[in-house]
Symmetry: D2
Subunit: 220 residues, 4 copies
């Protein structure tokens, strides 16, 4: 059985993206008899879907976790929802800039992720890693990937468990920032902490039959 | 014709809530021949719906705008989505604390607001008021009110335009804060600015046939 | 008698600076028989001092309040200290970029402001304006102006009361921001609120014989 | 030769303080032939000085680095200044609450730290650790310790190099936070990253004859 972990590659002026760095760290690991396959996705709303399609055909993964960066967030955030919306503030690497466009015309307004988000947050926290449920995966490629995958699962009656986790900046990214206009630096985490967080997520998905209900109060 | 503006009242230790303060300021105003009626909602997930039901029966409003506070947000945020989820970090004033419960069992996962959110943000910004589209109205009473209203509109085939706008703290609230544990104060706005923002929202809703599409990049 | 209020003008790509906008609003006002004179300072560490020198010779002000912008701060901050240090992250408009240079060689490491900072904060808060004492005026032109003035006062045995107040962004500045990399907007205030804040500061300086002592816990 | 690293212990409701945790991790290490001695300081403005006095008499350290927590800061911050001011927002553990009181009556308004702050920040950043110079060590025990030590050094003509470094929250602290009123969590770091940061600081202090000058633009 295969666990697919996708991570977006670097974009804009950044030399790296915590999403791909973390996925790469997990590539090839065997967790409870399932093998992790990491795949890099380009910041391109057409190419990412082509690659995802091909990965699903090749691996028939039992679990798919998408990873992306959420600049400014201070904790690892496990997404609850994907919405049927693409809205890019700037063109992607393929020069696409959909604004207010549905990912799947006639698709439902939103899907819920099918991984046990609260159990994941609970276990990350138990291991000392700051994390939270998030109620918006945004309107860019991260949300697109999550929505598209959840839609495929429903349409194709796939049993694959599907989720998306946003990561803060990597320490190295912030260590290279020189600001002159804002009086603060964004939060960041080490690659080691992020990798441990996603490993915990995978363990939790494999072990959890039904998600727990706990009140985590924010990321509203 | 009636424009209903609801605002939550104060809760926890706060002496006021910008939502109700702003609604109150608009009460009785006539905007383009429509009369604004302001109504206070309690922070109680059963009572708020009862009051809303009754208000709809009494006024048959052409527009309903819910107002709430989003502590920590720095700009006026116009909500795009409501999700079918109630998840309270602490009990409400009626001692209810649903965790992970749908607002409408069997209802769709989410609805889109039916007010022209991007035109509203554009017009607020043109008037010099910081604002943004938001892609999560949270999981508390604010999201509940928006979801419930949008669901009623679909079920009852109501033409009412329905939206929700989150406000930052009022200046007065932050002026009374004495922190000892965090090294910063949350952003805030004056009641005057907030009232002007909601007035602009109402004008925009009345005047806009179809929402525009502009890329506003955040509140992910 | 004259109250001199200086405000830095716009710099970088900004069309305005709350410091100068606020100073301008107060220009010519008579407060308790003293007349406010507003003067714009350039973001140039040599020119600003030349202009200040000339203003002091012309007006012999009884009070001097410098105003500057502190991007990212959410409240009006009244500076307690000026340090003997110039450290610019980018060149100023005269292409000067001192790094780690004393403002006055052989001058003391720091001076305390001579306006009643805590009484000012107390009165601003009483009027509903979020404000705080600040314990660092930075290392740019704002700190330079405060240090230089306090040093002149000591050297020249001037009785002038001297202080510096940092302002958040103006609403209009944030209303024009389109971010693509950070998930939040900086806090801001209306020009009206800022003007009222500085008016309160002036009243307080005139009326206060000795500063009060109150614990305001932050801006560490 | 001895390197003294002091760290405040936990206070308020916190079970730990990154300052002491980090100091403890370094206790007993030998760095370039100098031995690190870690000492815990109580959050008590009289007891901390007594303990410091005794430590200096016992160890005659060549380097003293004080560590403290700066809740809300996102990076490791190396303090440039200590000011002659004690101002506590709440009473300390000995129930002392000085407000606006000088640490050393008749002492100078401020001292500069005598460790090479910019070389330290440069080396931390080179190692991928987000860090910054800070221009305010606050008005609590952290600033008090730094000021008191620098004053002793001047009065006693000690050659000891003296500095203070503020740390963000530990990951574990934020992992245990349940907020209901603010929509975000504070930034945090792993103990491992913090320990590495202070180790780099010690190496840099030992190896640096004269501090470098680099423009780091913030923490104003």
């Amino acid at each position: 059985m295969t666990i697919l972990v996708t991570g977006y590659g670097p974009f804009d002026d950044e030399a790296m993206n915590p999403a791909w760095e973390t996925a790469k760290c997990l590539d090839g690991r065997v967790i409870q008899n399932e093998r992790v396959v990491a795949a890099q996705l380009p910041v391109n709303i057409h190419e990412n879907i082509k690659i995802l399609s091909s990965l699903i055909k090749t691996y028939h993964p039992s679990i798919i976790i998408g990873l992306g960066i959420a600049p400014g967030r201070s904790v690892v955030t496990v997404e609850r929802f994907a919405t049927n919306l693409l809205d890019l503030p700037t063109p992607d690497e393929g020069n696409n800039q959909p604004i207010g466009i549905p990912i799947v015309p006639e698709g439902p307004t939103a899907y819920q992720s099918t991984i046990p988000i609260k159990a994941i947050v609970k276990n990350m926290r138990k291991a000392g890693i700051p994390s939270s449920v998030s109620y918006s995966s945004g309107t860019h490629g991260c949300n697109q990937v999550l929505y598209w995958l959840l839609h495929q699962a429903v349409e194709g009656e796939m049993k694959t468990k599907i989720g998306f986790i946003h990561l803060p900046y990597l320490h190295e990214q912030v260590a290279n920032m020189i600001f002159s206009t804002l009086s603060t630096y964004p939060p960041s985490m080490s690659l080691e902490t992020m990798t441990k967080a996603i490993e915990i997520a995978i363990h939790t998905i494999i072990e959890t039959k039904e998600d727990i209900e706990i009140a985590y109060g924010l990321m509203c």
